[in-house]
Structures are given as C-alpha cells and as structure tokens.
Symmetry: C2
Subunit: 556 residues, 2 copies
C-alpha cells in the first residue's frame, strides 16, 4: 500500500513543550507540522519540524520530539497513535505480530508507511529491507505511543541516548525529564538502564511518555529479582522478566546471549577484561556453574516470547573491548561469530535483530568492525557504542567517541549509542545528556552527508546560505542547538542590531571575508555588465566600425 503524497498539514502549537513552536525572534521560527499519509485504511499523520526562514524559504527536518503530553503535564502519557493500527492485528498466544513477519508476508504495515514517509523513502523499499533483516522497525505492539522509525544502513543514521537510575542516585520524575530532554535534542531511541529502586514504575513512566522506541537490558532487573546473586539467575527468572517488560511495551532488549563459556578464557590476557555489565554478569554465571550461558542454550524460548510482542533483539556485545589495547581481539570477534549464528535463529522466528558493537577502537581499526559485522551477521543492522578512538580523555568521551561514531556511521553502522562527558566517571546529569546527544547528532549527520543521503545536505546548505547572507536568526534556527548558537553570538555582540549587521565580532567590519566577498561579487557583476557592453561594442566593430577595443577580462 503506497503512501500518498503530502496533502495536508496539521499544525500543533505548544510553545511550552519541546514539540511546540519556538518563539519567533527576528523573524525565524520553527514548528512541528504533519503530513497525512494513507496506509492500511488508516490516516497517518507523519511529523516533521518545519523551519521558517526570514527569506521566505522553509526547511523540513526529521523530528523526534514527539507530540505534546496529554493534559500538558505528562501524567496521562502521550496520545496512543498506534492503538487502532495494532487492534487490527491477530494478537493471541503464539501469533506472530512482528514487522518482520508482515514484511515477509508482503504486507506494508502502517508503521512501515509512517516510517517510510519520515525518511522520504518508498514503503515498499522499507518493507523489503525489514523482510531481509537489513533494517528493523522496533515497535512493541504494547507501545502505542510510538512514532515508528527505522534502523538500517540505507536510512538516516540514528542515535540512542541512555538514561536510567542507579543504586546511588535519581528518581522517576528525573528519568522522565531526562527522556524528554534527550528527545528535545534529537535522540531517536532511548535505553532505560535503571538498576536502582522502582525499576518497574520508572520504566512504565518512561514508556507512556515516549514517542521513540525504548530499549532495556533485562538482565539488570532479573538480577534484582535474585537479590543480586549472579549464580541464582536462570532462564525462568529471565523469561519472567522479559514478559513483564514486554507487557509494558519495551521495544528492544539487549541480550548477552553471545558470551559463551568458551569465550571467557579469551579475555584473560586483556588489559581491561570484560567491561560490559551484562557481559561480566553472564561470564560470572558461566564460570560459577561450569555451564554454557543459559541465554544461549534457551535462545529459541526467548525468540518465541519476543515474537508475541514484536520486541526486537539488540544482541549485546558482552565482550566488547574496553580499551584501545583490547580492540578487535579474539574474544570480541568470537562473540560476534556467535551473534551471527543467533541472528539466523531469531530470523527463523521472524524476530527483528540488530547487533551491538564496540566500545574502544582506534581509527584504523574502525572500518574492519563494520565490514566484519556485516559479513558475519548477514547484514543485520549494527548498533555501536561510540567507538572511543582514544582512552586518554575522561571528561571528553563524547568527543573521543563522536569521532569514532562519525567514521563507523559513514561505513555503515545504522545506530550510534551516545557517550556523555561523564563516561567512566559518573552518572550523566541534564547537561551531560544534552552534550552527548548533540555530539552524536553531529556524528550521525556527518555520516549521512558522507553516505550521500538524499535529504541530508539540505540543512547544511540552508544554514550556510543564511550564514553567507548574514541572516543570523535563520542560522541560529537551523542549527542543532539554536539557544547555544544565539547566546554565543550575543556574548560578544549583544545588541539586537548586531543580528542584522553584515559582520560579527570575530573580525569586525574591515576584515569580514563575507562582506569583502559581497564587494568582490559586486565588482565581478559590474565587470560582467561592462563586458556585455563591450561585447555589443565588438559586434558593432565587427559590423564595420572601429571605435573600441577591450582587453580580455578574466571574469566569466
């Protein structure tokens, strides 16, 4: 069922919310608008953010902020966009409701049509990508608040933000606030990594307020259920935990089923051993019992459960390198081989899969990670943490890792898991979350540009044109963080008049290259006009007169 073209725009205005119109200053403004698309008998309202420029043009941007919370406070959660779409489907014990199942049956779901419209792609292409496992559309049938999106290397590179409390700090309200804050700056999915108190209630509040897919690492809660005793974990408590979280609507689970007993000795000589929490838990379980990882031995039962809700796998890289010294080693790649094997098991059950990746990797070893993952995991989407390209900058690991993330995104990673400045040091606060999201929006966009994504460069071109024409307000409004751009400009030239001035504080009027370039262009245009007159004169001469002879001019 192909999506129809843009035929209407519904405009919401909620200035107090992230999704609302930004206040008009100096004429530039942005608002969330919707395009109607018909699919599967449903009218889908596909959102984007439209930036209105002061020169009369506009620029539409992919938008993750979501609709305004019902009632304004968020206690009632977001509108249930997908409720009617999901109702249509056969939901019962054993029934497969996954997007992969429908895609393989040749059906374009409303989710596919919605996500396709957001990307500017054809719904059929999206269906094909999901059917063959090259893309996933994480969308638990019990997460009706979701605005469907795609993770796959032929789509825009996505970013994930991690939130979640720990035994040490944080409350439910704080976590919902962190969720909204992440979305405001552009997170495409959010993982709730809570390990502290009120783990169930925190997740419920997050899901009911999330327009983006929510991921979790269920082993954390399973471990809480056995009071922290790793050796007491088993498949029953794990499946019980999965069911609890799937019922709440979690869209993807990180599961460390690739940490096999035989891989553990491969980490013995590492500089930094096992640095994944889930990976170290499973390694300890395996050694305690002298047995194979129960997530691996019971993998098909896990698939059956996840197929009933359409929870996607994010197959965890429990043996990812935690330092430059350990990058691309035997332990990491042995686990990757197992993840490739498990991918095919999940696909047999029509369960969607993405594969997690490192970690700490120097620049020259980044590309090998993607290419090997594609080959070994049959082109299932890759979802990498960074990677960090050096270990020496704690406090700045959003930057060390944005470098690796941009590179790995360009080479084919579908989603980038953010790293905040607090990585290795402490729990991120609001400012750290923002710094991490912005750094990763930069990395993802740099990757999109390098991949030649059709829509990506529009924003750069609009912004650079605004910059060149001294349309300061348009430049701010098109940027990833308008507030910061505006306030930095105002620090040196605060006067409102400076925002229309044809120079800035960097060089002052005399040294402004852009102002001089304006002069150069005027001179060039004048010369071209004169050249035109001289050409006319030449025709005149050629026609018999001999009045005027012009020197050759270098200007076209």
């Amino acid at each position: 069922m192909p999506a129809s073209k843009v035929n209407n725009q519904l405009q919401e205005k909620h200035p107090q919310t992230p999704s609302g119109t930004r206040p008009i200053r100096g004429g530039a403004a942005s608002e969330r608008v919707h395009t109607k698309v018909i699919a599967g008998g449903h009218v889908l309202e596909v959102p984007c953010r439209r930036v209105h420029l002061t020169n009369g043009e506009s620029c539409d941007l992919y938008d993750t902020a979501g609709p305004a919370p019902q009632g304004g406070t968020g206690a009632a959660g977001l509108p249930k966009l997908r409720a009617a779409w999901v109702q249509d489907r056969a939901v019962g014990p054993g029934a497969k409701v996954t997007q992969m199942h429908f895609a393989r049956a040749g059906i374009v779901t409303p989710e596919m049509a919605f996500a396709a419209a957001r990307e500017g792609m054809s719904p059929q292409f999206v269906r094909e990508q999901i059917a063959c496992g090259r893309a996933i559309l994480p969308a638990n049938v019990r997460h009706p608040e979701l605005e469907p999106m795609l993770i796959g290397r032929d789509f825009l590179v996505k970013i994930n933000a991690n939130i979640g409390n720990s035994a040490v700090v944080s409350s439910i309200d704080e976590e919902v606030e962190k969720l909204r804050w992440s979305l405001r700056w552009g997170a495409d999915t959010v993982m709730d990594l809570s390990t502290g108190r009120d783990i169930h209630q925190t997740r419920e509040a997050i899901l009911r307020n999330s327009p983006v897919p929510i991921g979790t690492v269920p082993i954390y809660q399973a471990l809480e259920k056995v009071k922290g005793k790793i050796e007491d974990l088993d498949i029953d408590v794990f499946l019980e935990t999965l069911e609890e979280q799937a019922l709440q609507g979690v869209d993807y689970f990180t599961i460390h089923a690739g940490v096999r007993l035989a891989h553990i000795p491969l980490t013995a000589k590492r500089l930094t051993g096992i640095v994944s929490r889930g990976g170290s838990i499973m390694a300890k379980w395996c050694l305690s019992h002298h047995r194979e990882n129960f997530l691996y031995t019971h993998f098909e039962r896990i698939c059956e459960l996840m197929a009933r809700y359409d929870v996607s796998f994010s197959l965890g890289d429990g043996l990812r390198p935690g330092s430059i010294a350990d990058a691309n080693d035997a332990a990491q790649f042995a686990e990757l081989d197992t993840l490739g094997e498990l991918t095919q098991v999940a696909w047999k059950h029509d369960v969607q899969v993405m594969i997690e990746g490192p970690g700490h990797v120097p620049l020259h070893q980044v590309r090998e990670n993607v290419e090997r993952q594609m080959r070994v995991c049959h082109e299932a989407p890759f979802y990498t943490l960074g990677p960090l390209t050096t270990d020496i900058a704690p406090g700045y690991d959003h930057i060390t890792s944005a470098i690796g993330a941009a590179l790995i995104g360009w080479h084919g990673t579908a989603m980038l898991c953010y790293v905040t400045p607090k990585e290795h040091l402490g729990l991120p606060n609001r400012e750290d979350v923002k710094a991490g999201v912005i750094a990763y929006k930069i990395a993802a966009h740099a990757a999109d540009l390098a991949k030649g994504h059709a829509r990506a460069r529009q924003r750069d071109d609009h912004l650079s044109k605004a910059r060149f024409e001294f349309r300061w307000e348009d430049q701010f409004e098109l940027s990833l963080d308008p507030e910061t751009a505006r306030s930095m400009h105002d620090q040196t030239l605060p006067a409102e008049g400076a925002k229309t001035a044809h120079f800035c504080s960097m060089c002052g009027p005399q040294f402004c290259s852009m102002r001089i370039t304006e002069d150069v262009r005027e001179m060039a245009a004048k010369e071209a006009r004169e050249q035109g007159l001289r050409d006319k004169a030449r025709e005149f001469v050629a026609g018999g007169a001999e009045i005027y002879s012009a020197p050759a001019l270098p200007l076209a």
Copy 2:
C-alpha cells in the same frame, strides 16, 4: 652530530605555573623533567612531563607548557634557550640561516637534535626530513625563547591554537594569558591573529613569552598600515611588515600568494564565496587593479627576506571552502596547484614550507584533500583548519571539526589548526580556547594511534590499566584534563574514600563490570590451579592409579 642518550634529569618545580608540579593528591603527581642531550657542542635540556603513578610506575608525556617565566610574572619573558645556538651561526645580509639550509648541508643543528629527542626519533632522520621538505622546524633566529619542535607527517600530529585581539575586544595581557592557557592544555604552535589596537606590542609580548612557534598573517597588519584600504596595499608595505614581524621573531607567516586573478571567477557560483579573510583581501585587491596578486608576482623577494630570519611559509588557502557545498571544488584545487608551484620556489631559497588546507569538507572527501596535497605540493607538510564535517552545529564546531581533524590527521596531515565552539559566532574566550585545544589534542592523539606512532599508545595503556585497577588518581593524572575528570567523578561520589573504592556511581558495586571481572579472573585462576592439581592427578593415574577423572575445562 648525533644526540646522546638520556644521561641526566633536571627537575624544575614551580607549582604556581603551568610547567610546575601538579599538587600530589591521593599519591599521583606530574612534573616537568629534562633530559640532557649533547649536540653541536651545546648541552640541550629536553623537556617532558613525567607522571608518577601510585603503583610506582611512571609515564613520560610530550610537553608544550614551557619553562616558568623569569621572575615569576612573565614581564621579563622566558629564558633565552637558543641564544647561544643562534650566536654560532653566520648572520648577515643575505646569509641563509634556515634549518632547511643546514639540513641540506648535512648539518644537524641543536634545534634538530632537541626536537628529535622530544619525538624519540634520530637526529639524522629529522635532518633528512627537513632537507627534503617533508617536515619543517619553524624557528626564527630571533625567537630564542623557542623550544624547537617538528611539523611533519612522520612525527606526532601537532595542533595550533589561534589567539589575537580584534577591533571589537581584548587587551595585551589577555592575549598573553590566552597564550599560556593554550600551552597549558597542549597547543604546539600559536597564531596571533590580532587585527585590533597595539598589534606590534601584543605580538612582542606573545613572542617573549612563547616556548612554541608563533605564526601570524602579516596581511592584517599591512592592511592596518594602509588604513584599511585594500586597493592601497602593495609589495613594499607588505615587505616592510614582514621585516618588522621577522625582527620580532615570528616563526611562520601565512601568506595568501596562491589566490591568483584567474582563480577568482571560479568562486562565483559558490554557496559561500571566499571565506578566508586573507583570501578575500587579496581577491579584492586583484579585482580592484585588474592585476595578478602581488604576493605571487613578488614571491621571490618574500622568500629572500624570510630566508634571512628562517621564517617558515604557511602558504595560505585563501580559497578554502566555507561550506560542505563548496568542498573540493575547482577554486580550491586551482589554488592548491599554485601552492605546489610556490613550494618549489621557496625550497629553491631553502625556505621551509607548509601548506594550509580546508575548511569545510564532508567525511568522504577528506582523504582526497590530503592525497592531492601530498602529490601537488611535493609532500610539504599539510596544515589544516579542521575540517568541519557538517555546517549545522554552530556552537559545537570544535566537535564537527575534531571529527574531520582526526581523520585528516590519520591520513597524513602534520598539524591541525583548532576550531573553538565560538567559530562562526564570536571571539573565543578562555573556556572556548580550552575546549578547542582539548578537542584537538583528542583528534591529534587519535590520529597518532591510528598511524601507529611508536610512543602514542603508552598513555592510553597506562590510563586504561589504572582504570581497570580502580587507581582513580592515576586515571585523572594521565588524562588530558585532570581537573575536569576529577571534578566530574566528585560530582556524584565526592567522598575521598570513593577514589579508592572498587566501583563508581555509574553502576554501583553490584553492577560493576570491572569488579565482576576481578571475580571472574579469581575464579579462572582458582580453576587453573585446580586444573594443575588435576593434571598432577592425571599423571598419577597414567602412572598406574585409577582414583580420579576430571571433566575437560575450557580455561587455559
């Protein structure tokens, strides 16, 4: 004259200065130490920063902070390290005193030996690299305060920080303070881009307090001398400006001699025209007079002057792209061809040359820039501004450009010119300078790791080992910014005891992968011991007894 091996260490301790010992907290500390090297009859004291770790090990780091200012205040400037070295040389009208001249004559200067020792390279190799133009050692004979360093692709990737006042803001003291601040965080060279008041005095104060090479863009001051009227510029006022600055000791000049009259029309259809200040000035001059760039036509006179002081060329890329849309275009590459031609002219005069590069370049076009520059400019060192890999993040261009800088550094760029968060928005303040320098130290180090530089990984390995062993203070002290790392850790776990705890606030003790890994290793070791006993038992069995049979264990 080969440098001798390490034979002594002189230790300075000036806790109140950037070069002094950092206060000992929790046992970790760092100090500036010197290694004595004999070269050309001089005893050279080559500095590094030694980090003393709490486990008794130490790690030596390349250090740019310089010695403590004489008298403590800096008014008297730094000690004149090179005064005796330079005195030995024939200095007179027309005499060539360049490092390239000596290198080609087979002479290892004290500067070469000093810089070689800092890099851990042989002086002969350094001499060869300078002789063939693949590296430069910018060292004006009138800048005796300099600690010599190398710019070339076989050495550590260097970074430059720009400072300088403008017509709008800043004072002399502020600029000296910005210089010291840049060096404290690791800038390898500093450019003084002042265009405001007291341009001569500001430069003098900077040079007398700088242990690193200082670069300038002399056309700015030349323009001040003709009261800002671009059309009044000529070669005489330009040479007069060069002489004035060379006499003060400036180590390299950015000169936009590659902006030729015929190139200007190539910028006509660009999205952002000409964005280099120097480039736009020269373009306007060319058009105003309908004549070829006087820097190009009089290039040999410029070379003769620079050879007398050993000022190095930084051949400016006046037509660098100012947006993703304009990257790698005909204008940029036409200028690059001219820079290649001028490189050979400068080399004829034994004048050292590096080549400036863009600008704004998407990831997939970065490599072409370096490879083309190497080919066209005969492997003269490349010195790039970023490049910025997207235009959409004003306020975060230290990050957009650190991504491009890491990549272009890996592919062979010798020095990276920093970009601060204020790029495109305003003049950088103290915090912006720090953010820019740290982002570029990260990019340069990531590039060094990727290039397999012999010494680069030591720091990563020491830091990661400290991290794995919960030696928090060592982790802080080895990081690019110990203060920030420490304060971020303290935000969540401020107690002094937390700095020896075997967990942190991110996961708490129960979920700490590193703590669990310790357990895993203990279990593995225990098993290995038991395996050893069982092996003994098997020998016993093989020897005739039949008491015990062990299952195969996966652990090595």
